[in-house]
């Protein structure tokens, strides 16, 4: 093993039927470093993590660990824990109805009897030393997501882990919470824990990491010191090609701003729903791209859900081309030409066990009606068309959608709505948890669709993404619309100050 290394992976191979997921991957983690594992969706990051944690068994290759003679074999998540590899996943995998201390110690004691007092004391010390704002006896579900995430980390650390894997830990946290998490990560780094950090946020990589390993198409692309690899190069390494300048994508398409005389395609007056948003007004013109912005939980998603009828509407009206329409449930919205790509892909988007084909045709099929199924040939034609159009990477149209990578799943959902040819498409976080290349693809697609006359609402946590695509932004705070920005006002500073509430 190399000096100072806690973990080395050599020549890892893993295949699934029809796909070579990992092809000779190398990875070295040193003591006390934060090491980013980067790559596009489907590049093999998740597979590598799963091999390392014993969820999958590797086909070939060896894993070396500090303090172990020769290669170690990791056949199950328990094995991984035993040798000191702990993982904190994107989704919290703890039990929300147990206390914080119970969560930290669950399944770890071999004794039949549990010394509750000792357990709570131990947990208390651990939380204190890591500066985590939670009490041992507090029910985990009452903590914020960020604190839950930290408790998961504390559990991992307390199990004497040498290698801590953080798989997309920040995707559901807001900026402040991310900072807290980073502080915790730096603390652990000081203690000599090696951290593998998987994320899609480039900013975060450059803020907290020491080293980057890039994977592409299941192959090892290279390992770099963070200071030797500027962002643009990182992106081009991940994509394997020179990236068009991101900031240019808006330039080649005409940005439409609705003028006062036009009747908006969709207009909303005083709409509010059971989700607790204050009544809001909103309008969108033909070929316009606009967006809702605000902090997490500010009511961005709730607004568009109300427009689509996903939440129960309690007041207000929706007007299409000057005529009032009734939207009580999603099917009403769909029949009026609205499409909605939901925020949470797993819960609201994909139908996991169904094939890519069925997922793509679902919305159009439902609109067509119960007694009019598409023929097999029609369905496959639709699916193949959009698989090609959006470049969805799938073994076939019959593959269950859940076995696709996140970005490709998202493209399928996008295909589903494009297939219905909506007049107005709502995209709520279409780029969350997907790789840079696909992000750019989606942004370009949005602008292209708009130039063809589709009205689009684009919501994203990444403000620069919205700045690149939207011509008008509605700003939200505390479930209320607090401002609307367009033209010269559309810049990071102005948005931030509107969100914050300062009338600067």
């Amino acid at each position: 093993m190399k000096d100072n290394a806690v973990l080395e992976l050599h020549n890892i191979h893993k295949s699934f039927p029809g796909v070579k997921a990992l092809n000779g991957v190398e990875f070295t983690l040193r003591k006390g470093e934060i090491h980013a594992l980067m790559g596009e969706n489907g590049a093999g990051k998740s597979t590598l993590i799963k091999v390392l944690t014993g969820v999958y068994t590797k086909d070939e290759g060896e894993i070396l660990l500090e303090g172990h003679e020769g290669p170690v074999s990791i056949k199950s998540p328990q094995d991984a824990q035993h040798v000191g590899i702990s993982t904190v996943y994107q989704e919290i995998t703890l039990c929300p109805n147990l206390s914080v201390a119970e969560n930290m110690y669950i399944g770890r004691s071999d004794d039949i009897l549990q010394n509750w007092k000792k357990m709570n004391e131990g947990a208390g010390k651990m939380l204190e030393s890591l500066d985590i704002p939670a009490k041992p006896t507090q029910q985990l579900g009452t903590c914020s997501i960020a604190v839950q995430q930290m408790v998961a980390i504390a559990r991992a650390v307390d199990m004497d882990c040498k290698v801590l894997i953080l798989d997309e830990p920040t995707s559901s946290l807001d900026d402040q919470e991310v900072q807290k998490l980073f502080k915790l990560m730096r603390d652990l780094k000081e203690r000599g824990v090696g951290i593998i950090f998987v994320t899609h946020f480039l900013d975060q990589v450059y803020e907290v990491c020491d080293r980057i390993t890039v994977l592409r198409d299941g192959k090892f692309e290279g390992e770099y010191e963070i200071k030797d690899l500027p962002r643009v190069e990182l992106v081009s390494k991940m994509l394997g090609k020179e990236l068009d300048d991101l900031s240019d994508i808006k330039g080649d398409s005409e940005v439409k701003v609705i003028s006062d005389g036009d009747i908006p395609v969709f207009e909303v007056q005083g709409l509010s729903s059971t989700s607790g948003i204050k009544p809001f007004d909103f309008h969108i013109g033909k070929g316009e791209v606009n967006g809702f912005t605000g902090l997490l939980g500010s009511g961005r998603s709730e607004c568009v859900r109300a427009i689509f009828g996903a939440d129960k509407v309690i007041s207000g009206k929706v007007i299409k081309n000057g005529k009032e329409i009734k939207i009580q449930k999603p099917i009403d919205a769909m029949k009026n030409g609205i499409g909605y790509l939901p925020e949470d892909r797993k819960i609201d988007g994909i139908v996991g066990d169904l094939s890519v084909k069925d997922n793509i045709i679902l919305a159009l099929q439902v609109m067509k009606g119960f007694f009019k199924p598409f023929t097999k040939a029609e369905a496959y034609a639709f699916a193949d068309e959009y698989i090609k159009l959006l470049g969805i990477k799938t073994a076939s149209a019959d593959t269950p959608i859940k076995s696709l990578s996140g970005g490709n799943q998202q493209k399928c959902i996008l295909a589903r709505w494009l297939l219905t040819h909506p007049d107005y498409l709502i995209l709520d976080e279409p780029t969350r948890g997907i790789d840079v290349g696909t992000k750019v693809d989606i942004q370009k697609l949005v602008l292209k669709l708009a130039s063809e006359g589709m009205s689009i609402t684009f919501i994203s946590s990444e403000t620069d993404e919205m700045l690149r695509t939207c011509s008008r932004m509605v700003v939200m705070r505390d479930r209320k619309v607090v401002g609307e920005l367009s033209g010269d006002d559309l810049n990071q500073t102005k948005i931030m100050s509107t969100i914050a509430g300062g009338e600067a």
């Binding site: 689509f308 996903a310 449930k329 999603p330 099917i331 769909m334 909605y340 939901p342 819960i347 609201d348 988007g349 994909i350 139908v351 996991g352 066990d353 169904l354 069925d358 679902l362 919305a363 099929q365 439902v366 609109m367 009606g369 119960f370 007694f371 009019k372 199924p373 589903r416």
Partner: protein, 361 residues
């Protein structure tokens, strides 16, 4: 497909192992082969005459086709309920008692031993279908609107159903002497194949057409897999779950018609006793997840016939009827373990290994 020829035997086996319908088919083949070796007379089918002087085919295989029919019909409905709601209806047996009782009530009127039928059979059948759809709708309401666990919701009728059935006929046991009525559960004069088999075939044909010409399959699976996402795609999950229970109600009424016709009467406390367990087992044997989602209708139907084949085989070997469930249980355990994803995955792996070894050689 040009590469079909290149597929080696182990390839085909690997594919078979992973295919859902493989398990019930394999189970059926094993049982048939067992019978073939133990006593080939199992396969003997003879043409004889029944007491009414009509030609009938008899033999163990005919018994399987005959008695497996009700179970196959119930398996259709149970598959849909399982897929849509992720739970099972355990009131099927009690439902058969109610539907059968209603059927007899209309046929016999107030007289328990009528000389002539009080109403045409078809009318009585339609009434019993209506009754069965009503309690299907009741179960469906509890599950879909009130979001009660299907087993808990149907426990109500499971407990109360047989009393309701007795109450419909004032606790009397009407007997139908009309010969035409007995054709349904027996033989139509001149046709030596048991009528229930035709009824089951008709039901299967209908469900096949429904699955082909409507979106019932897609909608049911979508709702069963991801309710929230289905709703955002314009589906009404509540209605679809409810509908699956109503369809099961129709299946129950058809099964009740056959059951009652076989006896020309009814016994409220034992008719179709525990049949719900066999119906659920049929769905499970077909490799369908009892937690809902994707389903394979034909695998469930095969599962139903496997269960009947097993029962008939055990009868043939003179297993005492009170010892039957124990023997059945042993076989069922083997079948269920064999069809579990864990074992099937292992089998697929073994066949893959065999293949790679062959390539290496």
């Amino acid at each position: 497909m040009s590469n079909t020829k290149k597929m080696s035997i182990s390839d085909i086996f690997g594919k078979l192992f992973r295919n859902q319908i493989f398990v019930p088919i394999a189970a059926m083949l094993i049982l048939l082969i067992f019978n073939l070796i133990a006593d080939p007379s199992f396969f003997r089918i003879t043409l004889g005459y029944n007491s009414a002087g009509n030609p009938v085919l008899s033999g163990y295989l005919m018994t399987v086709l005959d008695c497996g029919s009700e179970l196959a019909i119930l398996a259709i409905g149970m598959t849909l309920v399982t897929a849509a709601s992720g739970g099972q209806d355990i009131s099927v047996g009690a439902g058969i008692a109610i539907a059968g009782s209603a059927l007899l009530r209309v046929l016999c009127g107030n007289n328990t031993r009528p000389e002539t039928l009080n109403a045409p059979i078809i009318v009585a059948f339609l009434v019993s279908v209506l009754v069965a759809m009503c309690f299907g709708a009741f179960n469906g309401c509890l599950v879909a609107f009130f979001k009660i666990q299907p087993m808990v919701a149907t426990l109500i009728l499971y407990t109360a159903g047989r009393s309701i059935a007795a109450w419909i006929n004032n606790n009397e046991l009407p007997i139908v002497s009309d010969a035409t009525f007995s054709y349904i559960g027996g033989f139509i004069p001149g046709i030596p194949i048991p009528t229930p088999f035709f009824i089951a075939a008709a039901c299967l044909l209908i469900i096949a057409l429904v699955l082909k010409f409507t979106n019932l399959g897609l909608y049911t699976q979508a709702v069963g897999i991801n309710e929230s996402s289905s709703r955002l795609n314009g589906l009404n999950p509540t209605f679809i779950k409810w509908l699956s229970f109503v369809i099961l109600g129709i299946c129950v009424a058809v099964a009740a018609l056959i059951k009652v016709s076989r006896l020309s009467s009814i016994n409220y406390s034992v008719i179709a006793k525990d049949i719900e367990m066999d119906a659920i087992l049929a769905v499970a044997l077909g490799g369908n997840a009892l937690s809902g989602g994707k389903f394979n209708m034909w695998a469930s139907v095969m599962g139903a016939f496997v269960i009947q084949l097993l029962t008939t085989t055990l009868y043939k070997f003179n297993v005492q009827s009170d010892a039957l469930p124990a023997y059945k249980a042993v076989v069922v355990i083997l079948l269920v373990v064999f069809s579990s994803p864990v074992v099937r995955e292992k089998m697929a792996q073994i066949s893959k290994k065999m293949k790679s070894r062959k390539e290496a050689a």
